[in-house]
């Protein structure tokens, strides 16, 4: 009876695990395997692909930009999400505000790219500017710019698109965490004369550090997906390439080079993992200290 039950558990699990095995576990190992092979995957080439990865200037630029994305997007999104959560918790129309700030989550990266390319649209003077940003810039008396082709700074303008999407995500989770806080410490602080600003930053925020770290980690995990934004806004031109886009290029250009593509995929994973571990460890430490 019990033994039969044990077998039956695997029966329930089998279809799901089979799919996970075929679509995630097997490819994971196969990608590492392919990264040590040539473009067709037939010939073992040792570490040649990794040596190429470290020496190729285009890949290096992409690594630099990818790191920049990983370092800039999660903190800013989390921080803005925290501010939005705190503000919307204190007004009667907070629910509406949150729905509107969360809305970009429903929009595809390509759709978001269209929206923001229109914001950044540039017309040479003396034509009228139809992009919002350049209209504001010219109204302030400055010269309009072709924002997405300004080397280096264009990275930040592309990141803004992801920040716009992720802030709502962060806000929703952080708001739920704020809501779940016990009210007694907050009320005590208010009775002691703490100003609202102090209550938020000194009392509420420290208590939700765990959730902040979780949100931060989740956004780190979403950053490798920026492939769509870069592909549709600049396709990596003007020094804005990222690893995910490079990988896509190597996978499909000229019949595909599975060796180099796989190597870039491994590099992508290697970039993300330390940041994730660091965040997870911090979260655990704060959790332990907090309880």
């Amino acid at each position: 009876m019990r033994r039969a039950g044990r077998w039956r558990a695997w029966l329930y699990l089998a279809p799901g695990l089979l799919m996970i095995g075929l679509y995630l576990v097997y490819p994971l190992f196969q990608t590492v395997f392919l990264s040590f092979h040539d473009r067709s995957g037939a010939q073992f080439v040792g570490t040649a692909n990794y040596r190429w990865l470290l020496s190729d200037p285009a890949v290096r630029g992409a690594v630099r930009n990818s790191l920049l994305w990983l370092l800039v997007v999660p903190p800013i999104s989390t921080c803005l999400g925290l501010v939005a959560a705190g503000l919307s918790d204190r007004v009667a129309w907070g629910r509406l505000a949150r729905a509107l700030i969360f809305m970009p989550m429903a929009i595809s990266f390509v759709g978001a790219a269209v929206i923001w390319r229109f914001v950044y649209e540039y017309r040479p003077l003396p034509e009228a500017q139809i992009g919002l940003l350049n209209a504001l810039v010219t109204a302030a008396g400055l010269a309009p710019q072709a924002w997405i082709s300004l080397p280096f700074w264009n990275n930040l303008f592309l990141m803004l698109v992801l920040i716009w999407i992720q802030t709502g995500f962060a806000m929703v989770f952080l708001h739920a965490a704020l809501r779940a806080l016990p009210q007694d410490t907050i009320e005590a602080a208010i009775l002691d004369g703490a100003r609202p600003f102090q209550v938020f930053w000194r009392i509420e925020v420290p208590q939700i550090r765990g959730t902040i770290a979780v949100v931060w980690t989740a956004i780190i995990l979403s950053v490798p997906k920026v492939f769509d934004i870069v592909l549709s806004m600049t396709n990596g031109q003007w020094n804005s390439d990222v690893l995910a886009n490079q990988m896509f290029d190597w996978m499909f250009q000229g019949g595909g080079d599975s060796g180099r593509g796989a190597t870039i995929a491994v590099a992508l994973m290697v970039l993300v993992v330390p940041l994730m571990i660091w965040t997870a460890l911090r979260a655990r430490r704060h959790d332990g200290a907090g309880r």
């Binding site: 007004v91 729905a99 759709g111 929206i115 919002l132 997906k225 595909g256 995929a265």
Partner: protein
């Protein structure tokens, strides 16, 4: 609500925040409804105020025109909308504003041109007067804001967005339903059936949450191509992409559902078991209905994700026209019609409308399930 002395600062900051977050989308939405000519010359924020436009038309040739009291008379309308107003007109490009609307212009040799504020013009002259290819009339008109659905009509029927909409549906719906089913069974097995190794399986599933999807693509693409060659089928099929989305979505689905199922009160399941209910009955009749909020939340999330996905669709369906999904079509348009904002804006909204509707109508369920797992 807590009392605070400077509440207006909070309201103002939040309003600014919301404004910044919605303005880009609003701008594109308004642009999609505007006339292509107006988009090119003025910002979308001017769309709701009247705009001055300078235009030129040619009247028909006077030869063979209507005779009235010994005069040749040509009449017509400069404006198509009754809400537009002519301010000034002229007959040369050097002085296009020479006469105010309502005035009668004497063009010499007895030829007169009258243009009313409403855009009606009357050109009259002695019998036999000529104006090769018609008389030119320059005019400045104050155009009332006009919004149109023509851009949408164009992209949906002629631009292929309609077709792509159906393709996206064909991808997203099964890619949402299949993992829901598989994950429900797996989550039940993990939460309500004890067996050696369950902890290990769960750890594996949670660990896979962190693996970027990109890591799986190249081997899968090769596998699909090899299998297609070996068994003689096209590697790029809807079934192929359904299964891929299923595989990529399962870790999250299993985690969410297992958390929800593990939280159910033990007594309910135990008492059903004592009443002689089998595992499958307990699963279908008791556990699954109680977990429907979590299931709904995952389904919404997965639908939004598969609908909005570009990468998996490009890899597993390819770029050919008949299976191109909305995101892929939009990407192509950005390349080929980069400056034509009326096309791009309308297309973007065709691609966004369904996820936005799903998001705003089902947001409650999405949040309930996602947050249940996170805040504890």
């Amino acid at each position: 609500m807590r009392k605070a002395p400077h509440r207006w600062i909070i309201h103002l900051t939040l309003a600014l925040f919301v404004g910044l977050w919605t303005l880009p989308t609003a701008g594109l939405f308004i642009t999609a409804l505007r006339d292509p000519d107006q988009i090119a010359v003025s910002g979308w924020w001017t769309a709701l105020s009247p705009s001055l436009q300078r235009q030129m038309i040619r009247t028909p040739d006077p030869v063979g025109a209507m005779q009235a009291g010994g005069l040749v008379v040509i009449e017509g309308a400069l404006l198509s909308s009754p809400r537009d107003r002519v301010q000034a007109f002229g007959v040369t490009s050097i002085a296009p504003d020479a006469y105010a609307a309502g005035q009668v212009a004497d063009l010499g040799q007895g030829v007169r041109l009258q243009v009313g504020v409403d855009g009606q013009y009357r050109l009259s002259g002695p019998d036999g007067f000529t104006a090769a290819r018609g008389q030119r009339i320059f005019f400045t008109a104050l155009r009332a804001p006009s919004l149109t659905l023509a851009n949408y009509q164009k992209v949906i029927f002629a631009g292929g967005m309609g077709r792509s909409f159906l393709n996206s549906l064909a991808v997203a719906v099964p890619s949402t339903l299949i993992p829901c089913g598989l994950a429900a069974y797996a989550a039940y097995g993990l939460s309500w059936m004890r067996f050696a190794g369950s902890g290990l399986v769960l750890a594996l599933v949670v660990g896979l949450l962190a693996v970027p999807l990109q890591l799986a693509l190249i081997p899968l693409l090769r596998l699909y191509n090899d299998a297609g060659q070996a068994f003689g089928f096209d590697p790029k099929t809807y079934v192929g992409i359904w299964l891929a989305h299923t595989g990529f979505g399962l870790p999250l689905a299993i985690c969410l559902l297992r958390n929800a199922m593990a939280d159910l009160p033990r007594e309910i399941v135990e008492s059903a078991r004592l009443d002689g209910a089998g595992d499958h009955q307990i699963f279908l009749r008791i556990v699954l209905p109680l977990c429907s909020p979590a299931l709904a939340s995952f389904a919404i999330f997965q639908f939004l994700w598969t609908w909005n996905d570009l990468l998996v669709a490009l890899v597993f369906l390819g770029p050919q026209d008949d299976t191109l999904v909305l995101t892929g079509r939009l990407l192509n348009l950005m390349g080929s019609r980069g400056g034509e904002w009326h096309i791009l804006a309308a297309s973007a909204f065709v691609a966004m409308i369904l996820p936005l509707v799903v998001f705003f109508t089902l947001q409650k369920y999405l949040l309930r399930g996602l947050l249940a797992g996170s805040v504890r």
